[in-house]
């Protein structure tokens, strides 16, 4: 397999004076060349922390990685020195952040900001880099690219700014793009423009994308494979159709049911997930979803579920699907709910 990125048993802790928050608690996943992997979860589940640790962008003082490894093209990122890192950041891995206003430098013309990457990573001359920048601005669908180059970020609209951020991330033609909620700050009509653009560029450049989002609609439109995260762990992982059409983890089910369907009638209630995610300063001993899970058993409180493999691509961490679990009522309830 042509694995581009491999994350193994990654733990990330945030330390403050009186508490240690375990933001990521042992996750493993991989990204193949040219595929789109979506990481889905609620706020605070650790999805952004995962993305930032791949780029090693987390504050070194307050944040530690006690365990785990991140291999990019076979190279270990967690122990990498700054100098080596800067050869990867921006050049091999690009990143698009949620808020296009705060991820651009307000005192620099956007053309120069885009060209900066080429000058630093590829040793282009200023003139050549500028020409390249104009070319990529055109590619991200901005009319009149020459004129746009000379503008400052505040002179552009939110959608335009996000296009600039994407252009910046793509200028060095990275192998992997990490998009952290790239469309959350945008309006729906602009969102679909940006998603179409990302998809088109991804296919043209055959790059891999890690898409981090909380919006399952965006996932359905955009991704090949999906990881569902909850409270710092990946609870279910599978291809798009496995996750959407045969979800097995109660949390995945709950997420899918809590959004209105196309043909949802007004009298039908939405199925909400009761309660809130746990506090990760003191993570629960067993499965973190137990207090909110309608199918929870005694074992869920006590022990963390092990990985159950359903197919080559589909696996989950849930006691209900464990081979040792009672085959009767509970499993039926889940599959019934899945069919409904």
């Amino acid at each position: 397999m042509n694995r581009l990125l491999e994350v193994k048993d990654l733990h990330v802790n945030f330390n403050s004076k009186n508490q240690h928050i375990q933001a990521v608690r042992g996750i493993s996943f991989h990204v193949n060349k040219g595929e789109v992997l979506a990481i889905v979860g609620e706020s605070g589940c650790g999805k952004s922390v995962t993305a930032k640790s791949i780029m090693k962008l987390l504050p070194e003082k307050s944040c530690t990685i006690p365990k785990g490894s991140i291999l990019f093209n076979g190279e270990e990122i967690t122990t990498m020195k700054k100098k080596q890192l800067s050869k990867i950041r921006g050049a091999k891995i690009g990143m698009v952040f949620q808020d296009p206003m705060t991820s651009l430098n307000p005192t620099m013309k956007v053309g120069d900001q885009i060209a900066e990457g080429l000058i630093i990573h590829k040793g282009y001359s200023k003139k050549l880099a500028r020409e390249k920048a104009i070319e990529i601005i055109k590619q991200v669908g901005i009319p009149n690219p020459v004129h746009c180059c000379t503008k400052y970020p505040h002179q552009l609209s939110g959608g335009m700014r996000q296009r600039i951020v994407i252009a910046m991330a793509l200028i060095c033609e990275p192998d992997l793009l990490i998009a952290d909620e790239p469309t959350t700050a945008l309006d729906v009509t602009i969102q679909s423009q940006i998603l179409d653009l990302l998809k088109e560029l991804q296919q043209k450049m055959s790059m891999a994308i890690i898409l981090i989002t909380h919006d399952l609609g965006v996932v359905a439109r955009f991704s090949d494979r999906v990881n569902i995260m909850y409270a710092g762990k990946i609870v279910e992982s599978g291809t798009k159709s496995e996750i959407f059409y045969s979800p097995k983890h109660p949390y995945t089910l709950g997420l899918l049911e809590s959004i209105p369907k196309l043909d949802h009638s007004r009298d039908q209630k939405l199925t909400a997930i009761d309660g809130t995610p746990p506090d990760l300063a003191e993570p629960p001993k067993g499965c973190a979803y137990t207090p909110r899970c309608p199918f929870a058993m005694d074992v869920c409180d006590e022990y963390n579920p092990e990985k159950t493999v359903l197919s080559r691509t589909h696996h989950l961490n849930c006691w209900l699907m464990d081979p040792r679990a009672p085959k009767v009522a509970t499993n039926k309830a889940v599959s019934q709910a899945a069919n409904e």
């Binding site: 729906v188 996932v219 359905a220 209105p260 196309l262």
Partner: protein, 316 residues
């Protein structure tokens, strides 16, 4: 059904310096009937929140009138004003910014009761407990502060505060957009349940058309300060007439890969024009793929095409 609120030719302009005028709401009229939910949708900057805020008198209207039960809300006498605010309450978008961090939950919820001198002492305390339970919180939460709660719980406190004075009409301005998906459904269910129990009328403002579709009886679609289409939820979904509504419906990503893959590419291109300098003729003309000569010159008026269906488009 009886009209509870009438909005007539409401216009709200803001002065934004250098003699520029931002036309946030431009000549909008609609009615809200007792016991229904009217949803207002649109992209950011389309004026949907301004309408809500002008109705509840947080802004003075530039021109036009708002009638609540036959009385013009912008020219109320002092006594009527108090009465009006008791009947109309608001739920805000950001549950972090809209609760006073220095007040206990009990004081936040009972502030309305104190201002209107409705309940005191034991009675007030009991009312707070009742409200907490109504919105799905516990009695023991009454003496805590807002920062001790999660986003969803805070939004519940905001709802309890709105309900305290027993209003008939609630304006919910993006009440769920700051919340996580799984919590959004909790709050929407709560709002629907409260409406049925207390016979409330809602003006539900949101950019999330899929949630608005679920909760609203009728939906108004706004664009750049104008009402483009107004129809029952069902009709708008099945038979949208305005090209903007059609592309808005198409632009929402649906959590179903098969539907997403079958979808044709989105037709809406370009950005929202600036509301300080709106396009001539129809405001949507710059992004509309069907625009004709007439659209550039003449502004379409909201016309009735069916009993419950209004649309502002030359082509419909």
């Amino acid at each position: 059904m009886e009209k509870i609120l009438e909005v007539k030719k409401l216009t709200k302009h803001f002065q934004v310096g250098k003699g520029l005028e931002l036309k946030a709401v431009d000549d909008i009229s609609f009615d809200i009937y007792e016991g229904e939910t009217l949803g207002l949708v649109g992209e950011s900057g389309c004026g949907k929140s301004t309408i809500g805020r002008t109705i509840i008198r947080l802004y003075q209207a530039t021109s036009g009138k708002v009638f609540y039960k036959g009385k013009d809300v912008h020219t109320l006498s002092k006594n009527d004003k108090k009465d009006f605010h008791k009947n109309m309450q608001m739920i805000f978008q950001d549950p972090y910014a809209s609760l006073n961090p220095r007040m206990t939950v009990a004081d936040i919820i009972a502030e309305g009761l104190d201002i209107h001198r409705l309940k005191k002492g034991e009675e007030r305390k009991e009312a707070v407990y009742q409200l907490l339970e109504t919105v799905g919180l516990k009695r023991k939460h009454a003496n805590r502060y807002a920062h001790e709660f999660s986003g969803g719980q805070r939004q519940r406190i905001g709802i309890a505060r709105a309900l305290a004075v027993e209003p008939q009409f609630i304006i919910a301005d993006e009440p769920i957009s700051a919340l996580d998906v799984s919590v959004q459904a909790q709050i929407v269910n709560l709002l629907i349940e409260l409406q049925q129990k207390k016979k409330l009328t809602y003006l539900f403002i949101s950019h999330d058309l899929s949630m608005v579709k679920l909760i609203s009886d009728r939906i108004g679609v706004m664009y750049l300060g104008n009402l483009m289409e107004l129809a029952t939820s069902k009709r708008l979904n099945e038979n949208p007439l305005h090209p903007y509504t059609t592309s808005l419906l198409k632009a929402i990503p649906i959590a179903d890969p098969a539907i997403e893959e079958a979808k044709e590419k989105i037709t809406i291109s370009g950005d929202l024009p600036s509301p300080t300098n709106p396009p001539s003729g129809c405001v949507y003309q710059t992004r509309c793929s069907l625009a004709t000569e007439m659209c550039f010159q003449q502004k379409p008026i909201l016309k009735q095409v069916d009993k419950q269906h209004f649309v502002a488009c030359h082509l419909a």
